[in-house]
Amino acid sequence: MQALQELARKLLTDKTANVVIGWGQGPRGPRPIFVTQPEHADRLIFDTRCVHNLATYLNPRRAHLVPFVKKAVVVKPCDARAVAGLIRETQVKREDVVLIGMRCGGVVRDSDMDGKLTEATVSPRCMDCPDREPKLADHLMGEEASAPPKGKGPDMIAKLDAMSPAERWEFWQKELERCVRCHACREVCPMCFCDRCIADKSMPQWIESSPHPRGNLSWQMTRVMHMAGRCVGCGECTRACPVDIPLGLILRKMTQTVEERFGYRVSDDPTVPAPMGAYRLDDKQEFIL
């Protein structure tokens, strides 16, 4: 923690960065903070409750942060994958960001929990995460991390895969009927950076905008299609959802498909091209007549 604060102070003092985006103590656990003064660097903290994906704040849609230009961000491995995604898709220039990488052995489900990492408290996002340290980082901090505890509970993907289509339909209808179309899943997503989201497009209106099961289903299917080969698996959409729809489940299913079919796993190397928008002549096509 001290090393982190010292580095932040140095970056701000020598103007390598005009803002350090990190976590600070809030009323209900850690929350994102923006440190612009070297003397405030001691407000930065990092522990297993630092769940937020701070790459979201590099998203050019966050207009209030754009004027800082040079930004330092504290990143976990999943956050670093998002930064790499933003670089890959020309939203962020590599030279404009300083990445302070934190070694990570998993985080808890939400920031207001106590920080003890157990089978019961580990965030679902950490279960598939192979990265213990962000390779893209300019500075690496924290102790060597071991793999996060395996989460408890049934493998929901396998459970759903075993169902009939009608049962799956019923499952998702029950989940999606709670959706209020607040679009928090989109707002929190570091990879959702369109100036005008398809869900807000009205001419034509592909996705019905009212909280209605039909539009809700279209919205989630479309969102997942847009995340294909891009989702960094940070699980922020699931955490942000006020009605607890297991959105990460669909994304994980999609991620599995992308990995199985195209041998691609989202990494924090921005030079590796994304699988969608590319092709191989011998891509599997067993589903095509």
Binding site: E177, L281, Q285, L289
Partner: protein, 150 residues
């Protein structure tokens, strides 16, 4: 505009939307016509320049509008009029098929095929097979009935 579909399986007439590319499948369907190949009358073709232009949104919207089944068809690999539109489509629909299936849309309701301009016979098969398959599955009323859940 969707006609009220009876849930009675015997009298059920599937409504199937087909999104096809202009150069291969549309022309293949033309050939089926010139060859007078009789086929099920349930499929309505919407012409696009290339499978590359076909968005998964089209499939979603077709189901929303009352389709019981959807066909997506274009040029065989290496035959794309635009050289690579079909390869991009192949990746796109490989993912879409899994995602849609995971959300409960029976993959059997969606047919993907490569039909070249010379495969009128294959087009007739695709149309007949898809119609028979969707006939067997029954109407996709779940999608239309979503309104009733609120």
């Amino acid at each position: 505009m969707a006609a009220k579909t009876s849930t009675d399986k015997a009298s059920f007439k599937p409504r199937i939307a087909a999104f096809v590319c202009n150069w291969c499948t549309y022309t293949g369907a033309d050939l089926a016509g010139t060859s007078r190949l009789q086929m099920a009358p349930n499929v309505r073709i919407i012409r696009l320049p290339c499978t590359g232009r076909i968005d998964p949104l089209f499939i979603i919207k077709a189901f929303e509008r009352g389709a019981d089944g959807v066909i997506v068809s274009g040029c065989h690999p290496a035959d794309c009029h635009y050289t690579s539109g079909n390869y991009h489509a192949r990746r796109r629909f490989a993912v879409a098929r899994d995602v849609f299936g995971f959300m409960g849309i029976d993959p059997k309701r969606i047919t993907f095929s490569w039909v070249s301009a010379s495969e009128g016979g294959k087009w007739a098969e695709v149309v007949n097979d898809t119609t028979a398959r969707v006939q067997e599955l029954g109407p996709f009323s779940a999608y239309r009935e979503m309104e009733a859940r609120v």
